[in-house]
């Protein structure tokens, strides 16, 4: 295995019109970013539910990123603005239960901004590295189980 700490898991909820397409383009341009980031496609960040983020943290995610269109560019007019508001709400809730609010962040990434997508993932990984693992999973509360890779000769 390489020196990448794949133990950290970052869930990225990406709107299919912008951020998801930017991640696709990052691939097309062969830009490399931390493998810790796992993308879940949603039609619009307006669909981003406070519950999804909380459930992800409860399951053991070390960070959650929400990535939608540029402000004013939402394919569904205002979905990304609603998402911003909900991300703020999650931050509040995290603070209340004693988790760091920085574990969730909203990004605005248009479909051509592949390198900005990459920097967003890097930024999230740096945040997690600074904060350490999600304490929920350290306390054994999260039922997280790793994928095991075994080399068979």
């Amino acid at each position: 295995m390489s020196d990448v700490n794949t133990d950290y898991q970052i869930v990225a909820f990406c709107c299919q019109y912008c951020a998801y397409a930017a991640a696709d383009l990052a691939g097309g341009l062969r830009l490399q970013y931390p493998p810790n980031v796992k993308i879940i496609q949603i039609p619009c960040t307006g669909k981003m539910d406070v519950l999804y983020a909380l459930q992800a943290f409860e399951a053991g995610a070390d960070a959650v990123m929400v990535a939608g269109c540029m402000p004013g560019d939402c394919h569904f007019l205002e979905g990304n603005l609603n998402a911003m508001r909900r991300v703020e709400r999650v931050k509040d809730l995290l603070r209340q239960i004693g988790l760091e609010a920085e574990r969730i962040k909203m990004f605005h990434i248009s479909s051509s901004m592949a390198s900005q997508f990459v920097s967003a993932t890097e930024e999230m990984l740096r945040t997690v590295e600074k904060l350490g693992p999600n304490p929920l999973r350290m306390n054994g509360k999260a039922s997280r189980k790793e994928t095991h890779v075994r080399r068979v000769s």
Partner: protein, 1527 residues
């Protein structure tokens, strides 16, 4: 004889009644796509023609769009995908329209399809080909800032998502080579250090590369275009280099070619020709035996070329490579009788015996002792019979020979030189004598020179009388005479005029004749049936190489006389091909092959490429050579070879003339077998009812304005290049760089109007002010520290939101705007910085240094498009812009052909999109009877009911060639998937999306009874619809499908870590499977629609929209407040002069009268005048509206669509004393005066106009400048003496309206600019006139002006009913009170509510033609809905569980589309009356309401909470998850 269109139409009675239900759209840019989509949605078959390899046009090249700074790619790419997948749009890329015959309703279009060389239907765009393509050429999509490969995808998001090969033609090197060697290809591979691949390319056409690399006469170099720059590429040396390089490595055993056929071929002669043919025939699967009379194979190569030129080892190596294919070689076998060969059972014979017989001149003494013949001499030396005199003193061995001391070679050809130089090496003193002069010697000059360097003396212009003998009868000299002149007659006989009494003797002891060779044909008896020519060569058919006896072929020197190796090779190939055809029983003549042009670069193109910096002058890299003193005593190879570095340096000089060189690297790399280099161009005829031309524009070629240094100064770039720098997916990923040194510039200047508003362009390009502002803003967004200065004449921010955008640029971002046209750019050659000298508005002179200069280049029409116009017979102006006809602004001069976009007049994206829809509406009205005549709907089997089945998931994992499989363990991922819950089948495919895989998946679904499918491959954004169709074809609901994007999210982005990428792929597959298990079928429902439209507003926009929809066959209710139709246009009387508006060059009132008359006589239109809308409800397809007359009579109208065309009004505020004086007028008042009181105008001496009054200080009302200029010209027409002064802030005469400005200045109208803080002041107004005071900026002082009349350009303001209508129809108003469109750029006539469209001045102020086009566009959008039988709804939509709904209104408030509605008849939570309903037909599927609903009563189908949370938990917790075992 061809019918004239008229006759044809008469001969075809159907066309009289039935137009063809298909439309051709020419141009695949944003306009073409929009027109195509609008028409296809309305039930017409669309052929979308694009000259490039992908659609997208200029907009795909843009970074952002103004004035919203939206990402251009984000906005265009959904359109690309939609266009690419529309069942009624047939994309034809790399295609041009050649000819159009017929008439409106029935055109026959001839198309030319250029070859793509890649089969679209097979290419999966994996990109493996691009990785191996060695040819790199400037990337035009990136405006030549970087390079791309000859095989390429135009841009990452390109549609069709397939590669294409750019090939300009055949490179001259290949053309010149008899064997067609792909020199350009192997040179490119050498440049990349790919020597094995290079040799493979060479060997495809020539089995003797090492030999040709040494002794070829390389006609390729003579033809090489590089010779026009400096020196040709040293192709021969490169070929030698690469063979030496590969042959130095251990030889890989050659696999024998599999024998496929029983027939055998005999080849007589193991020279280059015979062996080439032997190779081809063996590879084709035939048995081959080669007969060779000599003890060694290689023919002339081995026995005729001296060792110092061609070492034996290389011949042996290359011969062995051929023999190892399984060819039998019989040495020392002289064939004496062809009958014996056939008797042995051979089915065909190839005679390739070469020309080994030397010729002696018939002169006295020719047979003396000491007289030799070239071929025998050289052969004996190579066979080792001669001993060098350098080893004098040793006794001669038995059977060995020694040459005399003084050798004279008779002859001036290359063989003669070989003999001479060989004799030198054997220790003789050597001279050559020949008939020709030094300049005309047949030998290559460099050979002659090398011989001289080695000490050979050369006698020219001689004829040989006799060879003298000494007392022993041994030759001792040659008696010669001087030649005055000679020639060969038609029969080849030599005629010589000798100089009388010029006899002299050249003494020598050995004479070698080298005056020609011929084949040794002794074995062919006269009765063998094989004819011989009088030149002693074998008679053949030159096309087939067949001799006169069936089954006998002949090739090489034995048919052509002495030639070069490469010709022998070519001849061998040709003979082999004929023999193959003979053995297969086919006609010997081969069918003609399409021929590509040979790319011969002109000196002009060379110079242009040098000027652009694409070519740097640099001569050949020299080759090492042995010094003559060593050469004289040794048979060691004279010429050395390149080393790696110098070979690559030499290879890099190649100009890649043909672009693709057919090196076949891509063919070997393509796993999908999609590449076909022999694809021919094709012609096709297509029948259509109408044609929409949207060919777009070209940017002005800035190098033509030499004063700005584009092309010469690296740091002067075009705005489109700057756009590519800014683009996050551009060549620098969005980093702004100076081309000269890659540094980030600190000071950037934008120069406006390059190629616009100048002596050669009398029009304004209309977009440059805004795009420069956009680029400046984007620069500031990234780097606030960069200093930006824009040099312009006027700021033409004339459209919606543009003025605010400009003000933000100036005030918020601090971009400096200077009103000056800079006349030239100077470069500091040391720093490559640029100096601009300019004068500001106060006449101050400045000189300033910049790091980068961006030229805001204007729009032009390309020569190709002008040709297209000519071919189609439509009228174009001198610039190539298309004329459109009176009263129909998108109609060209030829009925049934429409023109849109910048092809009509320079314009921006929204107007282009509007015109595209407008043209679609016009075509739809023309062809309405033929709707759905030619469209098709894909047929699928009935869906299987899976509701009671447990999930049975099939997982298909894609290798994507090497794109996934090369970076992660696909078999391991597949194996892992096998053990995931509900997975009953997992397999991996090389390309899951290839046609055969798709068939296979369909079969697997049926065979294994799968009810859910997961594909782990690339992105669902492009591939999901494709796989969903696979499910449908297998009888599954398409929503039972999920994708894991393991290419874009694993292999490509973690390509350096096999295990990490594999692990993540497993996780993504696990997540996809978890969601798939919860997927449910989604049914679409059909909602029938009302085929009727409501148009609100009876002005020119409402009338035009209503008329078009009625002509399309739909019923229209037209509601107008007033008693009279016509709106604002009723007050417009002065016409625009010819050429200033492109269309509508007519009297406005005539236009209006016609329009009203047409509307009134149209039975489909129901007029409701003096009426207003009082109630509105429903949704797209099913609206209900109540209309009330002034008398209070109400009527309910049910309609499918709504068009709001309520117009605008002229502002009538009290600014500048309006209303206080009879001579203070608005422009509309002035028009009235012009029409009704011309005498009053004739009495005026002076008049002033003030532009930008009142609200126009806040937003640009767009039309005022043009109207003011138009009226000024009308005034001058009535009263040429009238002094007109126009006070303005910017003259926004966009497009052809610039000509109004030019004409006004030419007619003496005065223009005085003012600023917002120093507006003109009205001092007083009385019977004497009106006194105006203003500051003249140029003079820097106050001026006073007394005028007889003052015309105020009052802006258009929203109609007084706008607010009311906005509330009623829930259509939002923008900041300035006009209706807000759904998307500024791409949905300019749609609003956020489906089924409602806006047109005309209700949207924004616009001129009459613009209003008409927008009305047509609204009609087109409306026609998309009305032409359907029903709206199909469902899939990804929000669904309410009423039992949970508390009717709290949260969803109603948050939905941006106003879809949720509380219905009283629904029962909510606890059975309480009232719950929300979300109409599936109008739900947009964003899920905003779902995430907001406090009762969780709403779910978004396909993205339910359970499904998303299943993904989340699958990432983290999955008890019993299997281990990943790397294979």
């Amino acid at each position: 004889m061809q019918n004239t269109p008229k006759e044809e139409l008469r001969n075809n009675p159907e066309s009289e009644t039935d137009p063809i239900g298909a439309v051709m759209v020419v141009g695949g840019g944003i306009a073409g796509m929009q027109a195509a989509l609008d028409l296809a949605d309305q039930g017409f078959k669309v052929y979308l023609i694009e000259a490039k390899s992908a659609i997208g046009g200029k907009m795909a090249q843009l970074d952002k769009t103004f004035p919203t700074n939206d990402c251009a790619m984000c906005t265009i790419s959904p359109k690309l995908v939609e266009t690419g997948r529309h069942p009624n749009i047939e994309l034809m890329t790399l295609t041009q329209v050649v000819d159009v015959r017929g008439e409106a309703g029935n055109f026959t279009v001839t198309l030319q399809h250029e070859p793509r060389y890649v089969d679209n239907s097979k290419c999966v765009a994996c990109g493996d080909c691009e990785k191996v393509c060695p040819v790199i050429v400037p990337d035009r999509f990136n405006e030549n800032l970087i390079k791309k490969h000859a095989i390429h995808k135009l841009y990452p998001q390109a549609v069709p998502n397939a590669y294409a090969i750019e090939r300009r033609g055949i490179s001259p090197c290949r053309d010149a080579c008899p064997a067609g060697q792909r020199a350009q290809g192997y040179i490119a591979l050498i440049r990349e250090g790919r020597y094995q691949d290079a040799l493979r390319v060479i060997k495809m056409d020539n089995p003797f590369p090492g030999i040709c690399g040494r002794i070829c006469n390389h006609r390729c170099e003579t033809a090489c275009n590089r010779g026009l720059v400096d020196e040709p590429i040293n192709i021969r040396a490169l070929k030698r280099f690469v063979t030496d390089k590969v042959y130095a490595e251990p030889r890989q055993p050659i696999e024998p070619a599999p024998r496929l056929y029983p027939q055998r071929v005999a080849i007589i002669g193991a020279g280059p020709c015979g062996l080439t043919a032997a190779q081809d025939l063996a590879k084709a699967g035939y048995g081959v035996t080669v007969f060779e009379a000599m003890p060694v194979a290689g023919g002339m190569l081995r026995l005729g070329v001296p060792e110092y030129r061609l070492p034996t080892w290389i011949i042996e190596r290359e011969v062995q490579d051929i023999l190892d294919l399984g060819i039998e070689l019989r040495l020392n076998m002289q064939v004496n009788n062809l009958d014996d060969v056939f008797a042995e059972g051979f089915d065909a014979v190839l005679i390739a015996v070469g020309a080994h017989e030397g010729i002696r001149l018939r002169i006295p003494g020719a047979n003396l002792e000491g007289v030799l013949v070239n071929t025998h001499f050289l052969r004996d030396v190579r066979l080792g019979k001669y001993v060098s005199r350098h080893e004098d003193g040793r006794p001669l061995e038995e059977g060995k020979l020694q040459l005399g001391k003084n050798v004279l070679v008779l002859g001036g050809g290359n063989v003669a030189v070989d003999c001479a130089r060989t004799a030198v090496r054997l220790g003789a003193k050597v001279a050559m004598a020949c008939l020709e002069s030094r300049d005309t010697m047949p030998a290559h000059p460099w050979e002659v020179q090398a011989a001289e360097e080695e000490g050979v003396q050369i006698y020219n212009d001689l004829t040989f009388e006799q060879i003298l003998a000494d007392e022993h009868g041994h030759a001792c000299g040659v008696e010669c005479m001087r030649v005055a002149s000679f020639y060969f007659d038609e029969s080849g006989r030599l005629h010589v005029e000798k100089v009388p009494e010029s006899n002299f003797v050249i003494p020598c002891d050995t004479v070698i004749f080298s005056v020609g060779q011929r084949a040794g044909l002794a074995f062919i008896p006269d009765d063998a049936g094989v004819g011989i020519t009088h030149k002693q060569t074998i008679a053949i058919d030159p096309n087939t190489m067949a001799a006169t006896r069936p089954g006998v072929f002949a090739a090489g020197d034995s048919v052509s006389g002495t030639a070069f190796v490469i010709e022998a090779v070519a001849s061998g190939h040709k003979a082999a091909e004929s023999i193959l055809r003979y053995l297969q029983g086919e006609a010997l003549e081969r069918p003609p092959k399409p021929e590509l042009p040979v790319v011969r670069l002109s000196q002009q193109e060379i110079e242009e490429r040098i000027a652009r910096g694409e070519i740097h002058r640099k001569g050949r890299v020299p080759l090492p050579e042995l010094p003559p003193e060593i050469r004289r005593v040794s048979f060691e190879e004279v010429e050395g070879g390149y080393d790696d570095e110098s070979a690559q340096e030499e290879a890099a000089r190649c100009l890649a003339c043909g672009v693709c060189s057919e090196c076949m690297s891509c063919v070997f790399a393509c796993g999908a077998k999609a590449i076909n280099h022999d694809m021919p161009p094709m012609r096709e005829e297509v029948k259509v009812g109408a044609i929409v031309l949207a060919p777009g524009y070209e940017i002005y070629r800035a190098e033509l304005s030499e004063e700005y240094g584009f092309g010469r100064y690296p740091n002067v770039i075009t705005a489109l290049q700057y756009e590519r720098y800014l683009s996050a997916s551009g060549p620098t990923f969005g980093h702004i760089q100076r081309p000269s040194d890659g540094r980030q510039p600190q000071r950037i200047a934008f120069l406006q109007c390059i190629g616009s508003r100048d002596q050669t362009h009398d029009y304004c390009s209309a977009v440059c002010c805004m795009y420069a502002t956009k680029e400046a803003i984007m620069t500031k967004e990234h780097h606030p520290e960069i200093d930006l200065q824009v040099f312009m004449m006027d700021m033409r921010a004339f459209s919606k939101g543009y003025w605010a955008y400009f003000e933000r640029a100036e005030k918020t971002y601090g971009i400096q705007y200077t009103r000056c046209r800079v006349s030239c750019v100077k470069e500091d050659p040391q720093t490559h910085n640029l100096w601009l000298t300019y004068q500001d508005e106060h006449n101050q002179l400045h000189s300033r240094e910049f790091d980068l200069v961006v030229l805001s280049v204007g729009m032009e029409i390309s020569p190709e498009v002008r040709n297209l116009g000519r071919r189609l017979g439509i009228e174009l102006d001198a610039y190539g812009f298309c004329h459109t006809v009176h009263f129909n602004p998108v109609q060209t001069s030829r009925a049934g052909i429409y023109a849109v976009g910048p092809f009509r007049e320079p314009k921006d994206i929204p107007e282009t999109v509007v015109e595209a829809s407008g043209a679609a509406a016009s075509a739809a009205a023309q062809l309405s009877r033929a709707r759905f005549q030619l469209t098709s709907t894909p047929e699928f089997p009935p869906e299987r009911d899976v509701s009671n089945e447990e999930p049975r998931i099939g997982v298909f994992v894609c290798h994507c060639g090497s794109n996934i499989g090369g970076y992660l363990d696909v078999p391991a991922v597949t194996e892992y998937a096998r053990y995931l819950p509900y997975v009953v089948h997992a397999e991996d495919n090389l390309y899951t999306c290839s046609q055969d895989s798709i068939r296979h998946i369909t079969e697997q679904i049926k065979a294994l009874n799968l009810n859910r499918v997961v594909v782990a491959s690339c992105t669902p954004l492009t591939h999901q619809p494709l796989f969903q169709d696979v499910l449908r074809a297998a009888g599954l609901n398409p929503y039972l499908f999920e994708m894991a994007n393991i290419r874009n999210q694993c292999s490509w982005v973690h390509s350096h870590d096999w295990e990490v990428a594999t692990e993540k792929a497993c996780q993504l597959v696990r997540m996809a499977v978890a969601k798939a298990a919860l997927l449910t079928p989604q049914q679409t429902i059909s909602v029938p629609i009302e085929h009727c439209a409501l148009v609100v507003g009876g002005g020119v926009s409402g009338l035009s929209a209503a008329l078009n929809l009625a002509q399309q066959g739909f019923k229209v209710h037209l509601v107008e407040r007033e008693a009279e139709l016509g709106g604002n246009l009723r007050r417009v009387v002065t016409a625009f002069p010819a050429g200033t508006m492109n269309a509508l060059e007519g009297e406005p009132q005539a236009l209006l009268a016609t329009l009203i008359q047409q509307v009134k006589s149209q039975p489909n239109i129901l007029l409701h005048t003096q009426s207003r809308v009082v109630d509105f409800g429903g949704f797209s397809g099913n609206f209900v509206t109540k209309v009330e007359t002034n008398e209070g009579k109400r009527q309910e109208i049910r309609h499918g669509v709504t068009i709001l065309a309520i117009g605008g009004e002229e502002y009538r505020g009290a600014e500048y004393g309006l209303g206080s004086h009879p001579a203070i007028l608005t422009q509309l008042d002035l028009e009235e005066k012009i029409a009704l009181y011309p005498d009053q105008i004739r009495s005026w001496k002076s008049l002033a106009m003030i532009l930008c009054v009142g609200p126009a200080e806040q937003y640009c009302s767009r039309i005022c400048c043009s109207v003011a200029l138009k009226n000024a010209l009308a005034l001058k027409e009535l009263n040429p003496q009238l002094q007109i002064t126009i006070f303005y802030r910017d003259i926004r005469a966009y497009g052809f309206k610039e000509r109004l400005y030019t004409q006004a200045r030419a007619r003496g109208v005065l223009f005085i600019r003012y600023t917002a803080d120093q507006k003109p002041q009205l001092s007083f107004a009385d019977e004497q006139g009106i006194l105006i005071e203003a500051i003249d900026l140029a003079l820097g002082r106050k001026i006073c002006l007394r005028v007889d009349a003052l015309a105020l350009s009052m802006p258009v303001v929203p109609s007084e009913t706008a607010k009311e209508i906005s509330k009623l129809f829930k259509v939002p108003l923008g900041a300035d009170g006009f209706f807000q469109e759904a998307h500024v750029k791409l949905r300019p006539v749609d609003v956020s509510t489906e089924g409602i469209y806006i047109a005309g001045m209700a949207h924004y102020p616009k001129l009459v033609d613009e209003s008409i086009i927008q009305a047509l566009a609204a009609a087109s959008r409306a026609g998309r809905v009305l032409s359907q039988e029903a709206i199909s709804a469902g899939g990804r939509v929000a669904v309410v569980d009423a039992a949970k709904c508390t009717a709290c209104l949260t969803c109603v408030r948050i939905c941006p589309f106003h879809v949720p509605q509380i219905k009283a008849d629904q029962k909510g939570v606890g059975g309480i009356q009232g719950a929300v309903t979300i109409e599936a037909a109008v739900c947009q599927g964003c899920g905003t309401c779902v995430a907001e609903c406090p009762a969780r009563a709403i779910q978004l189908m396909v993205f339910t909470d359970a499904q998303i949370l299943a993904k989340v938990s699958a990432l983290f917790a999955w008890e019993g998850a299997p281990e990943v075992c790397l294979t």
